[in-house]
Structure formats: C-alpha cells, structure tokens
C-alpha cells in the first residue's frame, strides 16, 4: 500500500464507523478522522433474518455523510475499503443490500468472514503493543471483542496464537434469544454463564484459561467501561482493575437502560448492549487469572488499516504468518496429531517447494497454504486411521485458523484430502467447488505433499534429504545417510503417482 490517505468503513451490527488515516512512509497509519453512527442492521438481521428498507435508507444516509467527510480529504467513496461483519454476513438479502448501497452511495462493501475479524483484531492490538510485544511473549494472553452479532476471541500462548474463534455470541443476538425465552436479567446471566462454561471447556483444550494472565478487551463495551472505570496506561490503552470492573458490571446491571443513558451519557443502543457485553467479558475474565482488563484504544478498523499498510510492513506480514503456523500447530495438538511427523513432512514439503520453484511456478501465498496443509495433513487420524485424509478434510473445513479465510481453508482441506489414496474426481464436491486456478493449485500442492509424506512413512524422521536434482525425466532426491531406503521407495512408488501426472517427472530416491 502506498503512502497517502485511506478511508476504512466498518458496517457492523450496531453501527457504521469510519476512519480516515494517513499511511506514513514506514507503513504506519496515522488517524486523522473517526466517525461513528448507530444503525439497526443487527437488530433487523438477528430478529428477522433480513435487512429492512428503513435500515437500508439509514445506512445509505450515513454513508453519504461519511462521503462528505471524506471529500474534505479528497477521497471518493469508491476508494474506501468497506467491510461488513456478522449482521451483513447473515442477512438473507445481503447481495441486494451491497448492490443498493453501491448504487446509491458509491461505497463498495466487502463482506468479511468471522475469522478475518480475528485477524484484524490481532493487527489492531499489535499496533498498540508496538515495541512492547515482549510484554505478551512471556505469558499467556487472551484478546476478546464482544460485538453485536459475534464475539471474537483469540488465545495466545507466550505470544503465539493457540486458538482463534468467532463465537455466535453477540449483544444483539442475545436480546433476540432471550426475548424468545421470555426471561429478564437473571435469565440473561444464567444463559450467558451456561454458554461461556461450554465454550471455555472447549477452549481449555487449546490453552488452559486459568493460565491466562493478560486479558485484552476491545470493542464498544470495553471502551465505555474504560471510560467509566479505567486508568490511562503508558501507551494507547487503559486498564481496569478486576474489582473495579466487577463493581461497574454490577452497577450497570442494576441501573437499567434508561438510567444508563442518563447517568453514563450513553446512546440508547450503546446502553442496551452494555450489560450483556460486560457480562460476557466478566465471565471470561473470571476464568482467567488476570488481575486487570487491558482496553487498547483501537478497533477492527485500525486492524484493517494495518492490513492495508502490511505490504509495506514486512515484519507485520511475517508476524501474521507465524501466527497462522502457531494456530495450525495448536489445532493439530487439539486433535493429538503426531507433531514430529507433521513437522518433518512440513520441512520436506517446503524443501521440495523451494527446490522446484521453476517447475511449479507457485508464489509465497501458495507456499504458506502448503505449509499449513503439511502441518495438518494427518489431523483426521484423531477420528479414525482409515480414511483419515477424509477426516482431515472435514476437520480443516470446520476449524478456524488465524489469518486464513474460508477460501484458504477450502484449498487446504482439498490438499490434505488428496495427500493419500486416489486423486480428485468429478463427484468430489469440495474439489469441484474450487475455481480452476485453485484446482490446479491443489493438484500441484498435493503432489508435493504426497512425496514429502512418503519420505517419513514410518514417522521416525530418519530420512534426511540432502540435495535435489532435476533431470530430463525425473527428479532425484539424494539422502545424507546410508539407511535402508527400501520402505520409502516402496511408498514413493505408490504416492508419487500424482507427482508424475502433474509434473511429468518420476521421483527417484538415492
């Protein structure tokens, strides 16, 4: 991303928010303007499944006013990055909405996936931590944002992502769920406690929540809490002591929406969401061993800006990928994979990928997808050893891996699916749903992965490849030791078939 002025707009379930920033020469965004207006998108969608005409009008009016603000900086709506989150994701008439908005305001909305929100959230927090990331690299931490439609949650083990989730737990959604139950405040508390307990139990498998010492909360409710009970930290963040936070939650719970508006000076929509939002934070906070809540002064929008600037910021780009690796490894651990084998295959795969660059012509993005595939290829063995490639495919498709979106996961799922047994057929729906370029990518990647896997067939990592030579009709893998390679050759004969088909070269092991 070049230097210059950028605008990002987030169309969330509770409101529309705009940031205008200048990206400086070092790829860091400097915020110039921020604006935010409440909307009823979330209410519409979580109640009726569709966005009403009134809300559409309202959004268009707000976006037009944003356009006015942007024009002071010479920006046009078409140039803004506009993301839609959970409310838009779930709206039945989302495509019509996106089209109407584009026609009438000029803004082009990009509806992002839940897991991408996690990604931006991480980038935003990273920006606040800046040079102080050592702060979280020595201990376990959690980053959480409670939104109107979903709660984004991320677990970090010594700074590395151990889990990233988008939970269907949102302040607006709750209103709808509880209205159906016909319960009041105590009902809300019980409902949330039950939910959080279930979620926490499954999170504990990734990282024991009790080991979390640093607790980041971002989002509107956390900001309000910080304003009311926080103290300014040394950077762009505020902290709230647990006791103060609990007091605030109790007090807010007793006041009721009307008084929250008058006493805390909140907008009605903010006040409505505040109590459930704070309760969710509290329930997670109580399960951790953190003594305070850290509220960074940022949002997903700062993350979006950071992502826009990331191509300039190689360090950040690397960081995101390393977090994706960590997230994949942790997924593997959750399903008790053979970590040594996975890492060995991963090494072999990347070795082959790098050596065969001229042959396959794939880029850094594909390398990263292949790397994650290698880590996860055997993950399905957790369910059953036979047909475990199919189980792996299923698990990957239904997991969240930090930094990867649905399209990425579908590719990885296909790669792991074809790491053994037969190749793709027309009846494989997941394969067929890929676009043609991605199908080619899957074939090439799976072919490499198969070879790499065969090289560690006995899961002992005893075969070490020293060199690789590309000949006219074959590639030759040269090992360092003098081990007996009979077994590996046998498996290669079996698994290199796809490699031969795809690249037209035999694989020879000596």
């Amino acid at each position: 991303m070049e230097q210059g002025i950028r605008a990002v707009v987030e169309i969330g379930s509770t409101g529309l928010r705009l940031l205008i920033a200048e990206i400086d020469s070092r790829g860091r965004p400097v915020i110039l303007e921020s604006a935010s207006r409440p909307s009823s998108l979330g209410k519409d969608v979580f109640n009726s499944g569709t966005i009403s005409r009134d809300s559409l009008q309202e959004c268009v009016a707000i976006l037009r006013s944003f356009a006015e603000l942007m024009s002071a900086y010479g920006l046009k709506p078409e140039g803004a990055q506009v993301v839609g989150t959970s409310a838009l994701r779930e709206a039945a008439n989302r495509d019509a909405f996106v089209d109407r908005v584009a026609m009438r305001s000029g803004f082009r909305i990009d509806i992002i996936e839940a897991i991408e929100e996690n990604h931006y959230m991480f980038l935003a927090v990273q920006q606040v931590l800046g040079g102080k990331s050592a702060f979280i690299s020595k201990t376990n931490s959690m980053i959480i944002e409670v939104g109107g439609g979903s709660t984004e949650l991320m677990l970090l083990k010594k700074g590395k992502i151990a889990g990233a989730h988008s939970l269907r737990l949102g302040t607006l959604r709750l209103g709808q769920q509880l209205a159906m139950d016909g319960e009041g405040h105590s009902g809300l508390k019980r409902y949330l406690a039950d939910n959080v307990r279930t979620i926490s139990n499954s999170l504990d498998e990734e990282l024991s929540l009790g080991s979390i010492k640093v607790f980041f909360a971002i989002g509107a409710d956390a900001m309000i809490a910080a304003r009311l009970a926080g103290t300014q930290g040394s950077g762009d963040y505020q902290t709230i002591k647990n006791a103060d936070f609990f007091n605030l939650v109790d007090r807010a719970g007793q006041l009721g929406t009307e008084k929250l508006v008058s006493e805390f000076g909140l907008e009605w929509s903010e006040a409505e969401a505040l109590v459930p939002g704070l309760l969710i934070l509290r329930l997670f906070l109580e399960r951790s061993s953190a003594t305070e809540l850290i509220v960074p002064g940022v949002s997903i929008r700062e993350g979006l800006l950071a992502a826009m600037a990331a191509s300039k910021n190689q360090e950040l780009d690397e960081l995101v990928h390393s977090q994706a690796q960590a997230s994949a490894l942790n997924l593997g651990r959750k399903f008790r994979f053979n970590e040594e084998h996975a890492k060995a295959v991963c090494r072999n795969t990347l070795f082959l990928f790098d050596q065969l660059k001229n042959l396959h012509g794939m880029s850094l993005r594909e390398r990263r997808l292949l790397e994650i595939s290698a880590i996860l290829h055997d993950i399905g063995s957790f369910i059953k050893s036979s047909s475990h490639h199919k189980h792996s495919e299923y698990i990957v498709l239904n997991s969240d891996i930090f930094g990867l979106n649905r399209d990425d996961l579908l590719i990885i799922a296909n790669i792991v699916r074809y790491h053994r047994h037969r190749g793709p057929q027309d009846s494989d729906t997941n394969y067929m749903s890929l676009i043609r370029e991605d199908r080619a990518l899957v074939l090439k990647a799976a072919a490499i992965l198969r070879v790499a896997d065969a090289l560690d067939r006995d899961h002992t990592q005893r075969v070490k490849i020293e060199r690789l030579e590309v000949k006219e009709e074959q590639i030759v893998l040269i090992t360092a030791g003098r081990e007996d390679l009979t077994l590996e050759r046998l498996y290669l004969a079996n698994k290199a078939d796809m490699f031969e088909d795809v690249f037209g070269l035999k694989v020879v092991l000596i």
Binding site: Q3, L18, E33, S34, A72, Y73, G74, G265
Partner: protein
C-alpha cells in the same frame, strides 16, 4: 436574606452587583468623561436585557405557580422576596446613574464642548431650526395611533425597547373630549440630532425623542396637549423556539423574533414629566406599580453608546474625552514567505485580544480561504459582526470549491436575524451549513483548516478560543485564542466537528472536554484531584478566571477543596454564587472581579496538580446553562511557551490591586482598603505597546525585508 443556611448567593442579586460595579466605573472621576458615559450606557442596556430575560423568567414562574412563595434552592429567597430585592436595588442603581448623568456628566461634557440640549435649553434659533427639521425629516415618518377607550379595543402595539411618545389631547373647542395618542419614535433616524454649528467649538445635540415630544402637537391641529410623556416598554424575550420544528427551523426561529415584539410587558421606563399619563398607560398594559420605573432624564441611556463611539474627527471638540487610543500589537508578522501556517508548524500561537492583534485569527481563516493547499475549513459561528470578514472569507472559500462547513447558531440571542441572513448566503455559495442542534446552543468556538501541503502530507490546523469570531468585539473583549498544528488536538477538534455536524455520535475526546457531555464531570474530577493531592507540605492551588460561577456541583467541589486545604483564587467578572471566606466552608477561597476599559471575557483554569501543572482555556462559564444546555469546549494549553504566557496573564489578573474588587462573605464587593497601582489591563496594554515599539524598531533598523527566492 433568609435565616436558613444557604451557602450560595442569589443569581439575580449577584448579577445586580455586577452591574453596580460597572456603574461604579461610570462614577469614577478618574475615567475620561465619555468613557464614564459609556459605562452608564452599558449599565442601561444591561438592565434591559436583565429584565427581558431574568426578571421575565421569574415573573412567568410566579404567574404559573399562582404565588411567589417558592424558594430559590440556592439562596433560600422566595420569589416575592427576590422580586422586591431586585426592584429595590435597580431603583437605587438607576438613581445613582441618573444623578451622575445630570449632575456630573452632562454639565461637564457641556463645559468640554459636547452639549446635549434639553428642550428647556433651546434658544429661539435652535427651536426654529428644529421645528423645520421636524416638519421636513421626521413628521412624514410618524404614525400617530389613537388609543381606544378602555373596553373598546386593545392598547396599540408598543414593541420591545422602542421609545414612544404619548400625548393626552383635549379638543380645543370641547374640553370634555379627550384622546390618548401614542407615536413610536422612528428608529431609523439617528437619535442624536446635531444642531448647526455656531462658530464656537461647541457641538450641540438634541435627542430625537425630545423633538417628537416638543413638536408632536403639529400633528394634531384642533387639539390641545393636556399631557405628554416618553416611555419604553421592556418585554419578555425569554421565549424558546419550537425545537421540534426540524423541517423548517429557520421559519420557527423567525417566528420567535416576531413573538418577542408582542410578548408580555415586564417593565416600563417613563420620563418623569407626566404624572397623569403614567397610571393610564400602565394600567392599560397590565403593569403594576412595581414595574414602573420613572426616570428623571433621558430614557434609554443604552443608545448613548453611539455618542461615546464618535471619533474625534466627527467632532473636534470631543477629543480627550475618551481613553487614550490603543493599538494591538502583532503576535506574528505574516509575509509572503511565511504564512500563519508556516509559523504554526513550529509553535503554537496565543492571541490575547485586545492586546494582541486579532488579525492573526482572521488571517488564519482568510489565508485558508484563498490558499490552494486548503482542502477544507470547518468553523462554528455564534456571534459575528454585521459585515463579518470571517463569513466573507468562508463564502469565498466555498466558491473556490473548498469544503466549507459552518455550524451557525441560529439561537444566538438577539443575533438571530443576522445569523439567518448569513446562513442563506453561505448556503448559496455552496457551504455546508448546520443550523445548530436541537435543544442545545453551540457556544464553543472552534475552527479547523485541513491542508494538503507541498510535501504531499495532510496537515490540520486548529483555532480554539474563549470568544466569538468577531473582529469588532475583539477590540473590546479580552479573549484568548489558541492556534496550533498539534495532531492530538486536531484529532479531537475533528471529532468535535463530526459530532456536532451529525456525522458521528459523541465520542470520548482525549484532550478536549465538551459540554454538555463530560465537561462538568472533568472539572469536578480535577478539583477533587487537587483536593486529594493537597497536603500540608505541598498545598494544592486552583486559579480560575471566568465570567460567571453559578454551578452548584462545581461550587460544592470548590468548598470541598477549600476544606482540604487547597488555595483557591477566583477572578470572576460577573455573577458569583460562591460565598468566599466562610470558616469551615470556604476560608481558603478568595474571589475578585475586574471591571474596566475592556470587558473581561476569557476563561482560564489552572491546577497546580502536585507540580504537574495543567492549564486550560474554555468557552464555558461554570453556570448550569453553559454546562448542561450548550455545546462548549474546554481545551488545554499544552506547549510550554504558550502555557507560560497564558499563566502569566492569569497571575496578572489575580495580582491586580487597582481595578479589582473583592467579594466578602456577606456579598459586598469592595476595593481593597489599601488600593495599589497594579492594574492588569493597564499592564497588558503597556506590554503590548512595548512589544509594538520593539517590533517597529527591529523592522526599521536591523534588516530590510528583501523579496527574492531563497538562494
């Protein structure tokens, strides 16, 4: 005052004491004659507004309650006690005002060559000239209106603050036939009619209303004048606009202006020359005895201000009757190679008007309007001058295709009509005009200029002030402007504009505090913080300069801080409801007030904060209406040099021992027994003159201003 323990003064009575201090300046023989007249005139217009707004509100409250027994929760006075006290004190002050006028000022002005002639003083020549002038110039404009007998029709419209002449006529042939007629004195002719010169140095004026009164009989041939008098009705102007009229708020506002002319009468001032007419008119208007203020002298002293504003060349005889002329000095000298924006990239600029040249603030907007680098200008306008150069610059900028956003307060009392006109002109030029906010007046003064500069970077420049964007009042009002390019402040100002122009919900501002959202809370928490951090070894210190202090919660916080040992020095020009110097409550609080040549208008707030000093400026007084019903801003002075300078002003105001009066626990304002020689206003003028001389000296002797490209 009631016997109960009420720890606050009453607001109206405190206001009257402020007006008494203004009057004292008029009585002060050490001031030049025309300036004394000016103070007397200000006292009169102050009273008009006081009755139109404050007394009107009290009376309307009493009307709606049915009686006057309700107590003011602050002072404990009942409505009846209060109205009686107001009436008593107003009469006392008016008596002193007119005694001074007729026994001192008018005779002495006459000796100095400026005569205001009473009808008794007209000689034959003058009389003849005036009669001719009346017939030619005035008579065609007059519309006599017969007052129908009681029960047969309403009293004719008498408007608000308009001088009227009343004539009780008796038919020349039939003495039993009587008729009351009133005539509005035309307001489109200068009230001061200058008599032709007689070759001496004397400049002689006659009041238009006296001319109408003297020659009014010419309008009624066949009738004799039985009695005649002049009177002026003050009406309730405390009328709110229909806040729900969002569709056409301008129309709703215009209706208020019409309503103001026909709302209930509150007070009648009447010249004391006809005892017979006074009860007739007052009873027909439904005014009680206590609403009648007979005046022995010219009514409506307020308009005498135009006489005081006359320049020497208009009348050679009135030189030396005014304050020595004073020219502000520039804080920053702009040139082609160095604009105000260039300077702001290096430092913050503080403009303390009227001592510093207000042109720097105007230049900020004017330069932005014409400069190619400017992308956008945003500004709030509350009161601005009649042919405001600010509005002209904004119109120019909008025409040049820059994004211009103007938050124009239509509800600025008594400036409504002017602002409605400006609004439509700005809109026609293509500016985005925001007609204020429902239920809140935008009183904050802020501007922001967004520029895309030569290096391709976006930079934002801001102006925040304690006073309006008004080049005229800047010569009379002491106000402080802060100009800065601080990105942190700019971010807050941008958010501020986004919220008041409806682009965004109210967010938390980092450096600025905004009423009615967090301003009051921030002030109280800073006062409480001062109390917490104060101890015997290092006592806390709060210094505040302000126009009015009346918010109960803030006063209570100040009482708490006083009890915690914090030293509190308040310089409050006008209303102060805090009772200083009461043991166990406020013994560490001292309150002073400065009323002088310039109207003190800046609001400065200082906290010692355990050595971590904080200094703020604000558009808001500490009154409930400012903190709860207006959009106001309080902003920090962050840069060291700027901070030092503003703190210097504050210290000077507190040190004043010449002009300052001190408030006692019983509510009396007095000059200290041993009055000293230090006047803050004089010191500031001295400094400005010194600086001007220095600037000029530098320009003259040390370096020529060479125009060339940089080598």
């Amino acid at each position: 005052m009631s016997e109960r323990n009420y720890y606050y003064f009453n607001r109206e009575l405190s206001w009257l004491e402020f007006n008494a201090r203004v009057l004292e300046e008029g009585l002060d023989r050490s001031n030049p004659l025309l300036e004394r007249l000016r103070f007397l005139s200000i006292v009169a217009s102050n009273f008009d507004e006081f009755f139109m707004i404050r007394v009107a509100a009290l009376k309307s409250r009493k009307r709606s309650l049915g009686d006057g027994t309700e107590r003011d929760p602050m002072s404990g006075l009942t409505l009846d006690e209060l109205l009686a006290a107001i009436s008593r004190r107003t009469r006392e002050l008016a008596a002193r005002q007119y005694a001074c006028l007729s026994h001192e000022l008018l005779p002495e002005l006459g000796k100095a060559g400026l005569c205001i002639l009473d009808p008794y003083d007209w000689d034959i020549d003058s009389r003849a000239w005036l009669e001719q002038w009346f017939i030619n110039q005035v008579e065609p404009l007059l519309t006599p209106v017969a007052v129908p007998p009681e029960g047969e029709g309403p009293f004719p419209l008498t408007g608000n603050l308009k001088i009227h002449a009343a004539f009780l006529l008796r038919h020349a042939l039939d003495a039993s036939q009587e008729q009351l007629v009133i005539i509005q004195v035309p307001s489109n002719i200068n009230r001061f009619v200058r008599l032709p010169g007689r070759g001496d140095l004397c400049t002689r004026f006659v009041l238009l209303d006296n001319i109408v009164l003297a020659f009014g009989h010419l309008l009624f041939p066949g009738w004799l004048i039985k009695e005649k008098t002049l009177f002026k009705i003050t009406r309730d102007a405390d009328i709110g606009v229909d806040e729900d009229a969002d569709d056409d708020f301008v129309a709703a506002m215009e209706k208020v202006l019409v309503d103001r002319q026909v709302s209930p009468p509150i007070r009648m001032t009447i010249s004391a020359d006809s005892e017979g007419l006074e009860p007739i008119i007052s009873s027909r208007l439904g005014l009680a005895v206590e609403d009648i203020y007979p005046i022995d002298g010219p009514i409506d002293l307020g308009s005498f201000i135009s006489l005081c504003n006359m320049k020497g060349q208009e009348s050679s005889s009135i030189q030396n009757l005014s304050f020595d002329s004073f020219e502000a000095s520039k804080q920053f000298d702009d040139s082609e190679d160095k604009t105000v924006f260039d300077e702001l990239r290096n430092r913050d600029i503080v403009v303390h008007s009227p001592y510093d040249h207000y042109g720097t603030v105007l230049e900020f907007i004017e330069k932005a309007a014409t400069d190619r680098a400017t992308l956008a200008i945003k500004i709030t306008l509350y009161r601005t001058s009649g042919d405001s150069p600010f509005v002209k610059a904004l119109i120019k900028a909008a025409r040049a295709g820059k994004q211009v956003t103007v938050v124009l307060e239509l509800k600025a009392r008594f400036d409504e009509q002017r602002n409605i006109n400006w609004a439509s002109r700005l809109e026609q030029a293509g500016a985005i005009v925001i007609y204020g906010l429902a239920k809140l007046k935008v009183h904050a003064k802020a501007a922001m200029v967004v520029r895309k500069e030569e290096d391709g970077q976006i930079r934002r420049y801001i102006h925040l002030s304690t006073g309006n964007y008004n080049d005229r009042t800047a010569k009379q009002y002491s106000d402080i402007s802060l100009l800065s390019s601080s990105p942190a402040l700019a971010r807050d100002v941008a958010d501020f504009f986004n919220s008041i122009s409806g682009l965004s919900s109210i967010g938390e501002l980092k450096h600025l505090a905004m009423a009615p959202y967090d301003l009051k809370r921030r002030i109280i928490s800073m006062i409480d913080r001062e109390a917490e951090r104060s101890n015997a070894a290092s006592r806390g210190l709060i210094i505040v300069k302000m126009n009015s202090l009346g918010d109960r919660d803030i006063i209570n916080a100040l009482y708490r801080a006083s009890c915690a040992g914090v030293r509190i020095k308040l310089n409050i020009r006008g209303v102060c409801l805090l009772k200083p110097g009461i043991k166990g409550l406020s013994e560490n609080i001292v309150v002073s007030s400065i009323v002088g040549r310039f109207l003190e208008h800046s609001r400065i707030i200082y906290f010692y904060n355990a050595g971590n000093e904080e200094l703020y400026l604000s558009s808001a007084d500490w009154m409930p209406r400012n903190l709860e019903r207006r959009i106001e801003l309080m902003f920090p002075v962050l840069e060291d040099e700027a901070k030092k300078r503003v703190k210097g002003f504050l210290d000077l105001y507190i040190a004043d021992n010449k002009n300052a009066r001190h408030l006692g626990p019983g509510g009396r304002w007095q000059k200290p027994e041993k009055s000293g020689k230090l006047s803050a206003q004089e010191e500031l003028m001295k400094e400005a003159r010194k600086r001007a001389a220095k600037n000029e000296g530098q320009g003259k002797h040390t370096r020529l201003k060479v125009r060339r490209k940089a080598p």
